[in-house]
Symmetry: C2
Subunit: 290 residues, 2 copies
């Protein structure tokens, strides 16, 4: 099994994003839960929600599999007719399979538009392609733009920090996992500027690794901590510009369980508008100093 | 003044690292202190120390000015005869002026070796040159290798996060401020492997910005949060390999004041050996969840 994984990684280094062992302290946690649940932050919130996502343009990165695919399925059920989903990932086949599934779903039959942006987010052209697809999918009657920054790669979790002497490797990891989410968010906020009647929501799918160090997870922990802080800055700025709702969720386990809403971490209490995520996020005090 | 700064930045974007306005909440803090102190973590610790730095090879990045220069001066006074300093920065003239000053100091007259590594840490060749200079400066009788990761650039602190659409700009910032410190640390740990009788200490000069978001400081906050987590992972790993002392200090104000040892943040209580920084670091509980 280990050899097969090594072979897969050698063939396609980015493939590792799909193979995600648990950080040490999540193992006990995971073993104490059944793995039959497929809740995401959206389904958790849906049971308590008083509002839905509206007529929304929803852009979801890393949508082809895992947590991102589950988010896409949930979002499709929560939006109003006249909405559009932009599914972003590198793997076109998986993305188009999800597109077909969603188009044939109840939401699809009710008119939900589902577009694919097959793009590498570690690449400038990839970002541009996501923005272009999003602009085309947007319609004037829409009242909500939602961006879910979910795409992330794992990096090599088999090596200690002292082995990372190759700058190109670290640079490439940070570009895909940190720079791209900042630049995509900035581009989407610029492409859909603030105006009356338009809600704009940005979500960062965070991780326990943003808060806690784990041995041999230096790239993943560093990238997640960087992203967490990046979106906290964006949230601070949204107080001034009043432009966005910024939310960060603690991602416990890919596409398996989202077991306890109390583990969701708000960026800062006063940025939470009356939106679909409020029920899950607002009662929780952040363990991160604000 | 603003125009002059813009012109300077245009001429040499990295010049911005030398111009460092205070984050908003540090302004009040700074204004309530006299700016006559030049304490660094080393001078603070020296008054309470029971041991000194030993016969040490001390590598200090960003040593040509500001906080790094002050650290270099303090280290020169704290090491035993037979030690060597490797001063790292891009600006050769300033580095050589400091070298001349230290060679003429009491420590220099007592035999302290001072070498310059004029290097851009955002560049692979720059890192290699620091390692080569360090290897040449190391002597068999030395019992301590100390690396101070101090070099950092400020980034553009005049713009909100939503303006950062240029991936090359963000990539370049993260490469210089995050990748380079990981790769340099890894290279130095490999170049001077663990052996009986050799102490190895790694210091990260951190910032309040690693813990708190500040409006318009997205690059700096993101980079410092990333570095903070990176060295926390390294510290976790040092428990297993028993190889290093990892310390992180909260950098309040460049080369002006280091007003309260309680503001120094230990990475994790159990990594602090009986070393010169112990007095400052060990009594303090980290505000970061461990």
């Amino acid at each position: 099994m280990a050899m097969r994984r090594q072979a897969e990684l050698k063939e396609n280094p980015r493939r590792r994003r799909t193979i995600r062992p648990l950080p040490p302290d999540e193992k006990h946690f995971a073993s104490s839960h059944t793995h039959t649940q497929t809740h995401t932050l959206f389904t958790m919130a849906a049971s308590e929600r008083t509002t839905d996502l509206g007529r929304a343009l929803c852009i979801i990165t890393g949508a082809s599999r895992g947590f991102g695919r589950t988010v896409a399925r949930d979002v499709a059920r929560l939006v109003e007719p006249g909405s559009a989903l932009v599914l972003v990932a590198r793997s076109g086949d998986e993305l188009r399979a999800l597109q077909a599934e969603l188009v044939q779903s109840e939401a699809g039959r009710a008119g939900l538009v589902v577009e694919c942006a097959v793009a590498d987010l570690g690449d400038v052209d990839g970002l541009e392609s996501v923005v272009r697809t999003s602009e085309k999918a947007f319609a004037k009657h829409m009242d909500h733009v939602l961006l879910v920054n979910n795409a992330a790669s794992l990096g090599d979790v088999s090596r200690y920090a002292k082995s990372f002497t190759n700058m190109a490797e670290v640079d490439s990891y940070l570009s895909l996992n940190v720079s791209s989410s900042l630049c995509l968010t900035a581009k989407i906020l610029q492409a859909f500027p603030q105006r009356p009647g338009l809600r704009r929501t940005v979500i960062n799918v965070s991780s326990l690794c943003a808060l806690q160090p784990f041995r041999s997870w230096v790239l993943y922990c560093t990238g997640k901590a960087a992203r967490e802080m990046m979106f906290r800055v964006l949230a601070e700025e949204s107080q001034t510009s009043g432009c966005s709702t910024i939310l960060q969720g603690l991602w416990i386990r890919t596409c398996r369980c989202w077991p306890d809403p109390k583990q969701l971490i708000p960026v800062s209490g006063n940025h939470f508008q009356t939106c679909f995520l409020r029920a899950s996020f607002s009662p929780v005090k952040s363990p991160v100093p604000n």
